[in-house]
C-alpha cells in the first residue's frame, strides 16, 4: 500500500498564480495610496480652494488619482461641478495629464 501511494501521483495545487494575482491587485491599490499620500491630499486641497472660489464644491466631488507606471505616470483630476442656475446640466471639468515618473 505504502509503495503504491509512493508512486501514485499526488494532486498538486498550484497556489502560485493565486499569490501573483492577489499581489497584483493589492499593490496596484497600495501604490496609488502610498505613491503620494501627502501629494494627493495637498493637490486635492489646493484644487478645492481654487475651483471653490468660482463654484460651490462638495469635497467628495473632487477626485485626484495618480497611476504609477514604468514609462510614465498619469495624474487624473475629476471635478464634478453642481448644477448652475436654472437646471443647466452640470458642467464637468475633467483634466488628465501624463507626467514622467
Amino acid at each position: 500500500m505504502t509503495l503504491f501511494r509512493f508512486f501514485a501521483r499526488r494532486p498538486t495545487r498550484t497556489t502560485a498564480p493565486v499569490a501573483r494575482e492577489r499581489l497584483q491587485i493589492l499593490l496596484a491599490h497600495e501604490r496609488a495610496v502610498a505613491g503620494g499620500s501627502d501629494l494627493m491630499a495637498t493637490l486635492k486641497e489646493e484644487i478645492l480652494g481654487v475651483i471653490g472660489r468660482h463654484f460651490p464644491l462638495e469635497r467628495d466631488k473632487v477626485q485626484v488619482k495618480l497611476d504609477r507606471g514604468d514609462a510614465f505616470s498619469t495624474l487624473e483630476i475629476d471635478i464634478e461641478v453642481p448644477t448652475l442656475g436654472q437646471g443647466n446640466a452640470a458642467p464637468r471639468l475633467a483634466a488628465a495629464g501624463g507626467a514622467p515618473g
Binding site: A16, A19, L23, L27, E30
Partner: protein, 271 residues
Amino acid sequence: MAKVLVVTSGKGGVGKTTSTAALGAALAQNGKRVVVVDFDVGLRNLDLVMGAERRVVFDLINVIHGDAKLPQALIRDKRLENLSLLPASQTRDKDALTIEGVARVISELREKFDWIICDSPAGIEKGATLAMHHADTAVIVTNPEVSSVRDSDRIIGLLDAKTAKAAAGEKVEKHLLLTRYDPARAARGEMLKVDDVLEILSIPLLSIVPESEEVLRASNVGAPVTLNAPQSTPARAYFDAAKRLQGEKFEVVVPEERRGFMGRLFGRRVA
C-alpha cells in the same frame, strides 16, 4: 570612487544579514576594500554571522557619539584583510542614531573603502531609513512569498522618496536579490516564479540565491557562505551578484543544486 550600498527588504528574516556578509566577502574576494556596517542597533547580528562576535569593542553608536574613533571600532576580518566590519550597538536602541552622525561616519568610510555595505534592520522606521539614506545603490532582498514581495514594494517606494539621492532629484540604483528560491517548487506552481516577482516589482534582477543548507551551515560557523563553501550554489549566486554590482553584464540563470543520483531521486520529497 566609493559606493554606498544598502541591503534592505522591509520584512525580517528574508536574508539581509546573510546577504550582506556574503556580498561583502565576495567583493573583498574580488580585491575590493569593503566595510560591512550593521544598522540594526539593539539587535545586532552581522558580527555573529561574520564570526566576529567576540572581537567587538566599540560600535557604530560609540563612533557617532564620539566615544571612539572610527578605526577603533572597525574590526578587520581574519580571513580577508581588505574586509572590515563596523558593528551595531547591542545595548542602545535605534534612537541613538542621528542623521548627522550617520552622515559623518559614512563620509569617513568613503575615504577608506571602495564599498560600504549597510545592513538595514527590518521595518520602515528610523533604523531602516537611516541605513538607506546615503545609498548610491540598493539591494532589495526578497523571498518568493507574498508578504516579502509586498514589503519590498514599500521599500522601493521609500528608496525613491526618502533618500539623499531622491532629495537631490536623482535615483538610487535598485537591484532585486531573490533569496530562498526553490526552482522545483516554482516549476510545480507552488511558489512564485522569478518572472512573477520581477513583473510585480519591476526592478532589475541581481541574482537568484536558492534555498540551500550551505547558508545555514555557514552562519553556524560564523563565515560568509562565499568563504565557507565557495563552490556551493548560493556562493556562486553571490559571486555573480558581486560581479554585476561591479558593472559586469551577463545573463542571470536559475541556479540548480548539484545533486547526485540519490539526491535527484529523493530531492523532490525533501523539498
